[in-house]
């Protein structure tokens, strides 16, 4: 167990270190941020002073080591544009992104699991066929276009839901949340649903496949023969074995939901980290881009670690060492 954990942790650390190198070297190849930030009206000595102030005069490897040193302490440099700590900027915006991503995942589970259970139990029912056909479209729809169509239908034509911003927020644990106020919830519905569309299809299909695989098995027949109610058989016996792959896929999907929030946030003007990163890419605000990428990479690696750990505990077969 400890050996496995140590090996897995060192792998994760190596991945993070590799990504810092890729991110840092990669972003040093983009255009000179000085041109955008200080403009033409500076004289040569002022220019050099500004370059020195931002640490852009040192050799690349030295910049990287400084960057790495700072990264360990969570300090990834000052934003060129906002003149604020880049990491602080990202962390300030993260709760909004998390709120959106978790709401989307919740929607995917609440809608996808019951529908998938239905489609798996009655595969030939017309409604099941309709669900499967709809889920193909759910996979094919370009999410950003659906977002625009949702805004047009629900906000402009029908006027039911607001289409931009977070609405009123309320503080909990020192952070502002939208889901605690009615106005905030109304603002949350459209972006969360948009981000969830793909996940709903995915969860539906996974649940359906799992249910269809488990239903014909002996222990399900036995549970039925014992006279247990169909609902009890479904919830206690079928779902328990369907849940293992579902939970792992969902944990993995959380990371990609946070990354895809970039698109949703920019359409619904949701003030999360994704909107910040898009603006920063366009303004060549290097430290913010680096900080965002590093934060998401770390979130991702940690999620991977948790998923592997879950598997280790849930599925005894994984513990058998497979040597190549």
């Amino acid at each position: 167990m400890i050996g496995w954990l140590v090996r897995r942790l060192s792998q994760s650390l190596l991945v993070v270190l590799l990504m810092t190198l890729v991110v840092f070297i990669g972003l040093n190849a983009i255009g000179n941020p000085m041109d955008i930030l200080v403009g033409e009206d500076l004289n040569q000595s002022e220019r050099l002073a500004a370059i020195a102030h931002l640490g852009l005069d040192k050799p690349l490897w030295q910049q990287y080591l400084l960057f790495l040193q700072g990264a360990v302490y969570g300090n990834l440099g000052q934003s060129f544009v906002y003149h604020e700590d880049a990491m602080r900027l990202i962390v300030q915006r993260l709760p909004a992104t998390f709120e959106l991503a978790f709401s989307a995942m919740l929607l995917a589970v609440v809608l996808g699991v019951p529908l998938g259970m239905f489609a798996g139990t009655y595969p030939d029912h017309p409604l099941s066929r309709l669900l499967m056909a709809t889920s193909i479209i759910g996979f094919s729809l370009p999410a950003f276009w659906v977002a625009l169509m949702m805004i047009m239908l629900f906000s402009i034509k029908l006027g039911w839901l607001p289409a931009s911003g977070r609405g009123a927020t309320r503080e909990l644990f020192g952070v502002q949340w939208s889901f605690l106020t009615l106005d905030g919830l109304q603002h949350l519905i459209l972006p969360a649903l948009n981000l969830a569309l793909f996940k709903i299809s995915l969860v539906l299909r996974l649940t359906r496949a799992g249910v269809r695989e488990v239903l014909p098995q002996e222990y399900v027949k036995f549970a039925r023969a014992k006279g247990l109610s169909p609902i009890r058989v479904m919830c206690m016996h079928v779902m328990r074995n369907t849940m293992i792959p579902l939970v792992t896929v969902l944990a993995m999907e959380l990371g990609s939901t946070i990354a895809y929030a970039v698109v949703t946030e920019s359409i619904f003007a949701w003030p999360g980290a994704g909107k910040l990163i898009l603006d920063s890419i366009n303004m060549l605000d290097r430290p913010v881009v680096v900080a965002y990428l590093m934060v998401v990479v770390v979130i991702f690696v940690v999620l991977n670690l948790i998923v592997d750990g879950l598997y280790y505990f849930l599925d005894p077969r994984v513990r058998v060492e497979v040597k190549p």
């Binding site: 990669g26 983009i30 255009g31 276009w145 625009l148 402009i156 698109v263 990163i277």
Partner: protein, 305 residues
Amino acid sequence: MNQVSIATTKPTFKAQSPWQRGVAEFKGSTTAIVGLVLLLVIVLVAALAPWIVFQNPYDLMQLNVLDARLPPGTANIDGGYTYWLGTDGQGRDLLSAIIYGLRISLWVGIGSALIAAVIGTMLGLLSAYAGGWVDALLMRLVDLLLSFPVILMALMILAWLGKGVGNVMLTLVVLEWAYYARTARGQALTESRREYVDAARGQGIGPWRIVVGHILPNCLPPLIVIGALQIARAITLEATLSFLGLGVPITEPSLGLLIANGFQYMLSDEYWISFFPGLALLITIVAINLVGDRLRDVLNPRLQR
């Protein structure tokens, strides 16, 4: 009458090649045929665009700003033709712009998928053939690439390289080759244990000729399936990146950028600028997915009856 029909439906036993059987099975699904026909029409229209459309939407001389944001079905001021799908904010005929945008989408999607397929397959075969540290290194790289969300990698690469169609294609190739490499490697490892490889080796055929001439052809079916689905993914990703303003230049809008440009006019009820390009995108992706799904069923040896 009965006798005649019995006589004509008498089964004939003919030897079929795997490809003939595949084609016959593909024809068995109506939705796949619909998808294929749609796809062929889309590709044909996109390829022949300059001879079909009324105006070249990228030629600023042919655009008339006075014609901006006209609703669908409006006649053009000179009376030469009708704007069937309306015009966009710059006075482009939307139908022409969509067809030209489709050209970019298909070119980026198919081009990047082909390049990625060639590179990925070669590296996958190399990985399977070489084994050892080459294999370990390549496969860890593949794991790394596949474990991160595509959009994150794309943002990283485009933040690095800057905008442009070429850079979007390069990004797609960097992201996609891993899928082909993993599949080609797995398939090649399975195939290399088959008897026909032993037979070829016994005949004294060199290792490279075995890999390229004997193993590669048998790795193709799953790679073709991945290719079809990757083209759809690539087209979606290009549209998304262009929508975010990280893809094609503003003077030559692709479908994603047309949709983005139409966003600002939606609030004043001018829906068509965003709606129709998205519809074209959706139809294209659904058509490719329908064909890809059927190909997967037909080419999957485990499902062959």
